[in-house]
Amino acid sequence: MVNSFRTRAAISAGAAMVAALTLVAVPTTHAQNLWGGICTGQNGKWAQWYDQPSVPEAQSLHWSQLCGTGGQRVITFTNCAALAYDGTRFSFPGTGQTQGDAESAAKADLPGGRIVTSGCNGQGLGVVSGNG
């Protein structure tokens, strides 16, 4: 599947060779230099972690132990992120400059869902996990 995506990306993004990209300069805050992640698993299992100094470190956290068999890391984020759950499925993870922005994005993706985890880097939140 990954290979499939990459192949298709090579063609379509490509519509391309799309991408000579120029990075957009944005103001840097402390939270933007820190990284967190969210994983989801079966039966409503989830975990969110914060304050890792780099993307690789945020991604190497032992998330698979937190979300169990069949779990997947759904996002690596700076600033804030939130996740909603409706008893059956998770929302697409919401992200934003503020916790409110992130929660609004998550709830907009899953109307009727409730926020099960939400927070921002730089607040010393560590690792949190839960079920449903």
Binding site: A15, A16, L21, D109
Partner: protein, 108 residues
């Protein structure tokens, strides 16, 4: 090995890219809609693309992969790996923004 393999495939695809791009542009003009406009605007806000006409196709591919159960984080990794071979480089944050925009515009 994966990267090498990808580059090989990208090189093969590149030969057909010009034709495909022409078709894509033509199609995009024919079917351009509010979703395309919204996604293109969001993507351009996240990063500056030199060929934005190709963005709607990319957005749809992202949505297709999400629909197949590929995690957003894996797609972000793929986007970063791909663009790093194409003269630009998306950051994790830019990739997240692109995926979120694709989800919003193209995934029901």
């Amino acid at each position: 090995m994966i990267v090498t393999s990808f580059r090989t495939r990208a090189a093969i695809c590149a030969a057909g890219a010009a034709v495909f791009a022409a078709l894509t542009v033509g199609t995009a003009i024919a079917v351009a809609d509010a979703n395309d406009d919204a996604f293109t605007a969001a993507a351009q806000q996240a990063a500056k693309f030199t060929n934005p006409a190709g963005l709607p196709a990319l957005g749809r591919e992202i949505c297709t992969d999400l629909g197949k159960g590929t995690s957003p984080d894996q797609i972000a990794a793929d986007l970063m790996a791909y663009t790093s071979t194409e003269g630009g480089s998306l950051s994790q944050q830019q990739s997240n923004a692109l995926i979120a925009a694709a989800k919003k515009s193209y995934c029901p």
